[in-house]
Amino acid sequence: MPGEGKSRGELGEIKTQLAALTGSSGSKGDAVAAKKDLFKKIINYMTIGIDMSSLFVQVMTCGVSNSEDIVLKKMLYLYLSTYAQSNPDLTLLTINLLTKDCKDQDPTIRGLALRSLCSLRVPNLVEYIVSPISQGLRDGHPYMRRTAVMGVLKVYKQDSSAVKISGMLDTVREMTLKDADAQVVANCLSVLQQVGVVQSMISRVFVYAMLNRLKEFSEWAQCQVLDVISTYRPSGEQEVYDIMNVLDDRLSHSNSAVVMATVKVFLHLTLSMPATHQQVLERIKDPLITLVSRDHYETAYAVLAHFHLIAQRAPIIFSQIYTSFYCRMNEPSYIKQLKLEILTAIADETNAYEIATELTEYVNDIDEQLAREAVRAVGTIALEVQDVAGIVERLLGFLEIGKDFITAETIIQIKDLVRRYPDIAEACISSVASISPSDIEEPEAKAAFVWILGEHGQGIQDAPYLLEPVAANFAAEEVRVRLALLPAVAKLFFKRPPESHRLLGITLAAAAADTNQDVHDRALLYYRLLQRDPELAKRIIQPASAGIANFSEEQSAELRDRIFDEFNSLAVCYKAPSSSFAQAANEEGGEGEDLVGGSPARPVKMVDEGSSLLSEHEQEEAAAAEHLQQNGTSTPTTTATAAPAMDFLGMGDLLGGLSAPAPAAPAVPAGPPPLALRSQPALGPPEFQQKWSTLQPSARFTQQLSASGLGLIEANGHKDFCTRLGLANIMTMASGGAPPTYRFYFHAQRAERDTRILVETIVSKPAGSASVTIKADDQDTADHFASQFKERLANL
């Protein structure tokens, strides 16, 4: 990029040239050619990021004088719409030119001018734009009407009230049904969908009218129409069949976007007809497979992501075409990874062996990432499909490959497998025992290895000696290894006291001296337990293990359903509902989601499988703590403490003693005096956001909502609900979300103090409940407010 000085010199030069050309009197053709060259130069600079806005006046006057040349005109318009925002005062000058061109004879010029006019994005100019658009909507030429319809949306984005007053939306609505040009209709649908009024138009007549014209539409427009139709709920089954019959040929369209849009319609129409839904899945299988094998990798990726979603819902449909998901050498890793996930999802008794065999090929692959994923996939299949012989053997075979990372991944899988099916432990542990801990570098694998040795130490002769080097090197290990070692050594001690005594001593000593709070506290806990009552300690640290029936899935069925509702969108690629990553669909609710800025989780959440190991420890610990309270100490706390893991430290008590009477006591007749709230508290969104991110949640609860309550919340775009809360001095900061989940942010301020109360309420329609998180400056206020707010929700 040229230096600042140079570009300034260059700018001056261009300015002079522009001035010279504006007044030039040479032959017309030459003048136009010279101007074009100069404009090209300007736009070139503009493209590479040099600010050309200071030339605004010169460019405009120069461009206007030869405006009959279309290319020159296009460049001028491009320049104008790029820099209009930085020159709002000067833009008024261009309005004249553009509005004049909106009445040109040539529809191309009319369209171009109108499009540029709508793209200026300068707020105070909206008034000048409305009337050209209104005229454009009635234009005789479809090119102009297409542009005008989109113009409505552009203005709506800037100033929705101007559009509502002008009545243009009604015109657009009429055009949707009447306009002769298909692309105009498609653009109308886009506008209505974005503005959020398309739902109210969808009726049987409307859908049938669209379907009858579908073939006139361009490929992209068809996608738009199908997307709208997918939200239609037919009145009866016959109607569903009619629609599907009409659309069936769309599955043979060569444009994969059209095929996907059709698939979405089929799936959503038949949701309430299980048998037909299965048939639909059978029907779409082949077209989708073709898209995967025919299309570009990128589109195949999107299709595979949808495959994965469907395969999770109905694995049986795809269990016989599993070979379609075998990986090819040249495929990019994102394809391979998805294929592995699909293979895992569709593995059942009939194909698990073949799939595991194929996966074994990938385990040997040069691509480390793929090899790791393959080991995990075999592990998951072994967990899910238990009755198939040979899969566990394959897994154990991986240990002999002799690559450290494969050994590591495999151990983690074996750990989970043994937890689930303790009876296969014997077959596994001999292979595991042959591994030297020094070969395992990765902390997660090491923790798993340590766990296996602790849990099944009775069957491994060398177990104490295998653990010894880990204990000797205690301080250098990662936290998760240290945390895993403590219970492992303790368990081993119960099984083989003489051999493990020394090991336990070393470990406890090292752990007690640890700087990590968790490790340190756990070591002390174990130490005291053992000191007080070894038998009790054994019961707590090593409860009788029965296999774990179910690992919590990485994705709940409910979440999958929500993603399924958003079929054919980014949500499927991210495997997360759109509320976690995108702006709300409806413009009205657009702010709600964004408010808490950073807080929505990243959509692509890699589930940390190893965490299950830790969480198990946490459970153990929690159980231990409870035990302690019941049997050992004299604390008269009930078992239903909110945070047992913390309670054994006495923290809960400490806090409980300070805080107000237990919040969960609405039954107390003479409840706490109502919390007085200041009316009209002032709090701007930035402060709210800042406060929200700094404060810790003070109270949380979930409240069931009555049907009428839900209705109230939904009604009138949440306005009624918010007004009602407003009367109680609870102000709405933002509301949003799309059905079936809504999200609200409220704030209030305590009357006699300055205490702020911030509330997040997430209403889930299917569950019929609201989860509320309250953050306040002090705990007392939060508890008060919580009980009050809870009652309010209950009595909606």
Binding site: Q183, D227, P287, H306, R328, I401, K403, N568, C573, S578
Partner: protein, 425 residues
């Protein structure tokens, strides 16, 4: 939902072109994208859809460019990815080669195109043929500004009126590509044929075309089953010009074709077919420093057909030393950069078998990590002209235009090796 802006970046993430459709994303985003992409590439997991701080980046890579759409909404990922590919086609149509240089040279046209393919983030028209009448390149610019062609506004969006050729011709290529995966124990794990009817039309006016195939369903419907060989094609997909309702009714493929090249139809065949070219590789390890490959390549199709440009890629260990090769047909060369031996056979008639022997050494000192993972598969590419696996045949291709000219149809058949992999033992 619509996307916010389109970017075209070079591989370092510098913006070559951008078009902001909705004004709701800062144009500086491109830098974020490339940072994020590099981050993910290190962990080995970049996918065509990235997410970073509220913005989704959807991109494809082509030559030395990224074509990227960004959005804040939950947009239709599959459609946008396809749209980017269509955009690439449009650019390729205009600039022949789509790459950084050609784009910089033609940025004004590129801007014009970006203006027409999308409006406010909604895809509009991506038919290069149509756009090219709308946006003229310098090469064939017209004196008088053209009005928007009829095609932008009428129902036949893929063809404009008033096309004229001196000689009216249609070329139809039936191309079948064989994907094969054979396991190291010699079993065929997967075989699949992906077929396409590729057309190039040079026809005047608004011609009505009708294509007849030896379609099994059609033959059965007409009660002609068994008389002549018919094929059962799976999952046929047609270009948008084909009247799908008509096809569903009576299996007639009728259409008004676009001008120039396009894919009329694609189909798939997943029944197991005998691998056309079979390759077996016997590895003999005489000693640590001397290994020998004995490779047999056999053509398993009828003798009257013949494969051309057969190329067999035989992977060698990365540290192989001085391979020496003998072949009974064709020539084999060592390509160290591919860690493979490339055996090329210009002409490979059906029902024949050719041999290759390759001796090579390995360093006598063992490498650190002896088990370097499995060998990549043997890969085979080939072309068999005048032959299709499916046996599909074009029975007729009729062209009817109201001016009544006679068009010449040219039909060719060819089968090629696609993802053709045979795993080594």
């Amino acid at each position: 939902m619509a996307c916010s802006a389109l970017f075209i970046l070079d591989l370092k993430g510098r913006v070559i072109l951008s078009r902001d459709y909705r004004g709701d994303v800062p144009l500086k985003l491109a830098e974020r994208f490339i940072t994020k992409l590099n981050e993910l590439e290190e962990s080995g997991k970049p996918s065509p859809v990235l997410y970073d701080e509220g913005v989704s980046y959807i991109y494809i890579q082509y030559s030395n460019l990224y074509l990227m759409a960004v959005a804040r909404n939950n947009i239709n990922a599959a459609a946008i990815l396809l749209f980017l590919h269509k955009l690439r086609e449009v650019f390729t149509h205009y600039f022949q080669e789509l790459e950084e240089e050609s784009l910089r040279d033609n940025f004004v046209i590129a801007y014009e195109l970006l203006d027409e393919v999308m409006d406010f983030g909604y895809p509009q028209f991506t038919e290069a043929k149509i756009l090219s009448e709308f946006i003229k390149t310098d090469a064939h610019k017209m004196e008088v500004q053209a009005r928007p062609p009829m095609a932008v506004t009428n129902a036949v969006s893929w063809r404009s009126e008033g096309i004229k050729y001196k000689k009216n011709e249609v070329f139809l290529d039936v191309v079948e590509s064989v994907n094969l995966l054979v396991n190291s124990n010699g079993t065929v794990v997967r075989s699949e044929v992906v077929g396409a009817l590729k057309m190039r039309t040079f026809l005047s006016g608004m011609p009505e075309c009708k294509l007849g195939l030896n379609d099994k369903v059609l033959f059965e419907a007409q009660g002609r089953a068994g008389k002549s060989k018919a094929v059962d094609l799976e999952d046929m997909k047609f270009h948008q010009c084909v009247r799908l309702a008509r096809f569903d009714n009576d299996r007639t493929i009728s259409f008004i074709p676009p001008d120039g090249a396009f894919d009329l139809m694609t189909y798939r065949l997943s029944q197991n077919v005998r691998p056309l070219i079979w390759v077996e590789c016997l590895v003999e390890k005489h000693s640590r420093s001397r290994t020998e490959y004995l490779v047999k390549a056999r053509s398993q199709f009828k003798e009257r057909s013949s494969a051309t440009n057969v190329e067999i890629l035989l992977p060698l260990p990365p540290d192989a030393i001085t391979p020496t090769v003998r072949t009974s047909q064709g020539a084999a060369t060592y390509a160290p950069e591919k860690e493979a031996l490339i055996w090329k056979i210009k002409n490979f008639p059906g029902g024949r078998e050719f041999l290759l022997r390759c001796k090579f050494g390995l360093p006598s000192v063992e490498a650190e990590d002896e088990t370097q993972g499995r060998m990549p598969p043997i890969r085979v590419s080939f072309e068999i002209p005048y032959f299709t696996v499916s046996g599909i045949q074009v029975r007729y291709l009729k062209v009817i235009e109201k001016s009544g000219y006679q068009a010449l149809p040219w039909v060719r058949y060819i089968t090629t090796g696609g993802e053709y992999e045979i795993r080594m033992g």
